[in-house]
């Protein structure tokens, strides 16, 4: 194999592949990328078996063939290469030679046939979607997904189609975020769970410049295509909890308030919560919400904000982080908190727009 390539072009696709390469290196081959040179193009592939990426770019191919090479070392070498032109060649013995100007590197690759094959998909199934809508939906849910690896079925975002609507749900067992949008969407027979890592990879993709994005789902994978790049994300094989059951109905104590007021006040008051607890007490009375926190070691904090509330007085505790994370993503000036009692789930949502719902469980402080 032998090809010549522009440094900046090569660097760009190597950088993308880098993000996917398995960092923990459970299998040595997964620290490598697969480069295939064919008909005036090179194709770069990386995978951690959960997320796989395939990218391509133009190159002057003198001799077709393929190699695997350590992704990080190659990226670092190309980044520091002295000239714009990079020349890469390989012999049958697995020795790879990288030349740029007067610099020359000899690298040992791993056998090509050890590299996992790229998941199969049907190009015809790919369906163009609106990237902004998808990006927004991800941002408003993914933060609530669980990070506890033992609960793999909630380690991601649940996606399902409901008529003309697309719904995404994420939960960590303490809170739940749900968003619903009407949007064009590829065929999806039943709900699927997208893993966190895949979601974050997808988000990076959505953020990187203009260009149409197409999606498709197979039984095990979600396929994302943008320009010449294809990302395949393996779906989580599990049962997502019955989220509809935990969305409370009949929470009659409604508190209307300014989103920014609550967010900034929580930021201040939670400064004096316990180290990890971040527990903040919500004291609610007519027209008034008093937030307070105390830490016997440091002291206590208290702040009052004006709210729209006409019901009975009550006290309830919440994890301030859970509240702040949701308040940070709701795009509305006014929000509503709907409560039942101090032990039942509360709802946080926009006062005006429908389509986004955040359910959070109180804390006993």
């Amino acid at each position: 194999m032998k090809f010549e390539i522009e440094r900046d072009v090569f660097l760009k696709i190597l950088q993308r592949a880098q993000g996917v390469v398995e960092k923990r290196n459970t299998m040595p081959i997964l620290a490598n990328i697969l480069i295939t040179a064919k008909r005036g193009k090179i194709e770069v592939m990386a995978t951690d078996l959960e997320v796989s990426i395939k990218d391509q770019c133009d190159a002057v191919v003198a001799k077709e063939g393929n190699i695997t090479i350590n992704a990080r070392k190659l990226f670092e070498i190309i980044k520091e290469a002295p000239e714009d032109k990079i020349d890469i060649s390989a012999e049958g013995s697995g020795k790879i030679i990288i030349k740029s100007g007067k610099a020359k590197f000899n690298i040992v690759g791993l056998p090509v046939d050890e590299f996992p094959s790229f998941p199969a998909y049907d190009e015809g199934e790919l369906f163009r979607i609106a990237p902004d809508v998808l990006k927004d939906m991800i941002e408003k849910t993914v933060f609530a997904a669980s990070t506890d690896e033992t609960r793999y079925n909630i380690n991601g975002v649940f996606v399902e189609k409901d008529g003309a609507n697309i719904r995404m749900v994420a939960t960590d067992g303490h809170r739940l975020a749900l968003i619903e949008r009407s949007s064009e969407w590829p065929k999806l027979d039943k709900g699927v769970i997208l893993p966190r890592k895949g979601i974050l990879e997808l988000k990076k993709f959505l953020e990187s410049g203009e260009g149409a994005i197409s999606l498709a789902f197979t039984v095990n994978n979600m396929i994302v295509k943008k320009d010449g790049t294809i990302v395949v994300i393996r779906l989580i094989d599990g049962e997502f909890p019955d989220y509809k059951q935990v969305i409370p109905k009949g929470n009659d104590k409604k508190i209307g308030l300014e989103r920014i007021d609550l967010l900034s006040s929580l930021k201040r008051v939670s400064l004096l919560s316990m180290e990890k607890g971040r527990g903040v007490k919500f004291g609610i009375s007519k027209g008034k919400l008093e937030l307070s926190s105390s830490n016997p070691d440091v002291g206590e904090a208290r702040e009052e904000i004006n709210v729209d509330y006409k019901n009975d007085e009550m006290d309830v505790g919440f994890n301030a982080t859970y509240m702040m994370e949701a308040l940070g993503v709701i795009d509305a000036d006014k929000v509503v908190i709907e409560l039942k009692d101090r032990e039942s789930p509360a709802i946080l949502k926009s006062a005006t727009a429908a389509g986004y719902l955040y359910v959070v469980m109180p804390m006993r402080i």
């Binding site: 990070t147 506890d148 180290e275 804390m363």
Partner: protein
């Protein structure tokens, strides 16, 4: 028809012949060659031998020969010894409750004889001739006079030759040899005054010193290097006493192989005591790590039942709780800062003899103080003035120690190098930061005595065994105090509705299971505290600097000073050391100046 049937069935039951009964019970006593070694050596010990040699071939399958210089037996006794329940040690029922000898069931010799070929030669000191008895498969084949040395020699060949099932299940030669070596090690530790030798296929595996004490015996068995890392341990109230040696946490194993527990000088296995030991080490040793501990528990025979199992390696205490507390607290007290090696030499110079005496009183006081699970020495109320004085002294010397440490540099961005008074110290900066963060968190937690809990949006179901169910029902209060909210959900299913806030984000079901397992095995809730420590450690680990980082001179100094303010035993919460000292002597030796 049915009448006939039942008559027929009745006739099926017969008393089995004695020879078969012995073979079956032999299975209980003689599990493997190592059990033969154990029984024979114990007999030698009971015969007041001071020198015991054991020879084995092929992992004991081919040959086990035990030679002692004990009292020996008359010919009549030697013959009777092969009859079942023949024992010189237990003659009436009351004796069973005050057992002082090793063997007592009268099962050992006949059991071994029933599954092998035995030649016993014995001579009573002072007699001119000895006797030889040869037994094969339980049948006496030959009895005659023999010339031999004082004492008894028992040679067992071809063990399990007549029980093919047992033979088939024997492990490899190496495994069986290992078991025998373990057996001798256990006995050698229990009887330091007796000289033990073990020869495997003719070459010596173990040779212990003559008339040793426990310390020397530990060196015999584990190697001389261990001596500098072990700390003596002694505690008790007269009725229940413990003594022994415990190793610094650096010597840790991932199995319980380093735990040598003896009750009234008899080696035993006891999950409760293993637990008490790990609980004592919990702040200096990570989860799943076990230290090296040689622990002797002395307890009045009527307060312990050793006749639980034919191999006698399990016991039942009348009051497991008091044993647990004594062991756990004694270890914790010994590992407390004043005993830690890197400070030891320094404090020896500073602390007066009077203060040392105080330290002993302090330990005793904390043993008797209360039945409440110990919280933290630092905040346990009701300390007498003199003990507080001691604490201050210790704190003072520790602070002085760290203040006098001069930071001379940083190595590989990971270690701090310090010097003071002819000693060179290396501090692991991550471990140091982690340790001090942990102590801070722990202090906060116990000071507040308040557990916020997070209610669960998706309550988690947990399936429990019957034992676990009982445990959870009886300790519901303690569990609720910790911020859990667990409700029965019919059958053996329980629902977790809330978890301590500090645990959120970690799967609590495994933790609850482990907790209940501990409750079941140790019959007390000590470990809840231990688990919370583990959680606090995890938080501490994540809250501090990790990996390489260049620290400014001020940061370095501040980190070292922070160490002086925590109550720690020279290790990070995961059990890795925080600080290590290298003496000038060692460095000079490195460069051949000495």
């Amino acid at each position: 028809m049915s009448y006939h049937h039942s008559v027929l069935q009745c006739n099926k039951i017969k008393i089995m012949p004695e020879s078969l009964a012995i073979k079956i019970s032999a299975g209980e006593v003689v599990e493997r060659p190592a059990s033969v070694v154990k029984e024979l050596v114990e007999n030698s010990i009971d015969a007041k031998a001071t020198d015991i040699s054991v020879y084995i071939h092929d992992g004991g399958r081919k040959l086990i020969r035990v030679i002692d210089n004990g009292e020996g037996m008359t010919r009549d006794d030697a013959v009777v010894a092969f009859e079942r329940h023949a024992t010189s040690k237990l003659l009436k029922e009351e004796d069973l409750y005050s057992i002082h000898t090793m063997g007592f069931r009268g099962e050992a010799l006949p059991s071994i004889a029933s599954v092998s070929e035995i030649v016993l030669t014995t001579k009573i000191t002072g007699e001119i001739t000895g006797s030889m008895v040869k037994v094969k498969g339980g049948i006496i084949e030959e009895v005659r006079d023999a010339g031999c040395a004082d004492g008894t020699t028992v040679e067992a060949r071809d063990i399990f030759f007549n029980t093919p099932a047992r033979l088939k299940f024997m492990r490899s030669v190496a495994t069986e040899t290992g078991h025998i070596a373990d057996t001798i090690t256990r006995l050698a530790l229990a009887y330091p005054a007796i000289r033990f030798r073990l020869f495997n296929n003719g070459s010596a595996m173990l040779k212990s010193s003559v008339k040793a004490d426990l310390r020397i015996r530990i060196a015999d068995v584990f190697g001389r290097d261990f001596l500098k890392d072990i700390i003596p341990l002694e505690a008790g109230n007269g009725v229940l006493n413990i003594h022994g040696f415990i190793a610094m946490p650096e010597t840790a194993y991932s199995t319980t192989k380093g735990l040598f527990i003896y009750v009234n000088n008899r080696w035993i296995r006891d999950r409760g005591i293993n637990h008490a030991i790990t609980n004592g080490y919990r702040n200096v040793l990570g989860q799943g790590k076990y230290p090296l501990v040689v622990l002797f528990i002395t307890i009045a025979p009527q307060n312990v039942d050793v006749n639980v199992h034919p191999t006698k390696c399990e016991v039942r205490f009348k009051s497991p709780k008091s044993v647990y507390e004594l062991v756990s607290r004694a270890i914790e007290a010994v590992l407390a800062p004043s005993h830690v090696s890197f400070l030891k030499s320094y404090e020896r110079k500073v602390l007066t003899a009077e203060v040392r005496e105080g330290a002993v009183n302090y330990n005793n006081a904390s043993h008797n103080s209360s039945a409440v699970p110990l919280i933290d020495e630092g905040i346990e109320g009701g300390l007498q003035a003199s003990q507080q004085g001691l604490e201050e002294t210790v704190a003072y010397t520790k602070e002085l120690f760290f203040r006098e440490l001069e930071v001379i540099g940083q190595l590989w961005q990971e270690y701090l190098l310090c010097e003071r008074e002819g000693e060179f110290y290396i501090i692991d900066q991550h471990a140091a930061a982690e340790r001090s963060a942990f102590e801070k968190l722990k202090g906060d937690y116990y000071l507040n005595r308040r557990v916020s809990s997070q209610l669960l949006l998706l309550p988690q179901k947990i399936e429990l065994s019957l034992q676990e169910k009982e445990a959870i029902e009886s300790s519901m209060e303690a569990i609720t105090d910790l911020g859990f909210d667990i409700e029965p959900f019919g059958g053996n299913t329980f629902i977790v509705r809330a978890v301590p806030e500090i645990l959120s984000g970690i799967d609590c079901r495994g933790l609850i299971k482990e907790l209940l397992d501990d409750l079941v095995s140790s019959e007390m809730s000590f470990r809840i505290e231990g688990r919370l420590d583990a959680i606090l450690m995890r938080i501490a680990c994540h809250s501090v600097i990790r990996g390489k980082r260049i620290l400014s001179h001020e940061e370095r100094k501040a980190l070292v000073i922070r160490l002086s303010q925590v109550d720690f035993a020279g290790n990070c919460p995961h059990g890795r050391p925080v600080i290590k000292a290298i003496s000038k002597f060692e460095i000079e030796k490195m460069f051949k100046r000495r």
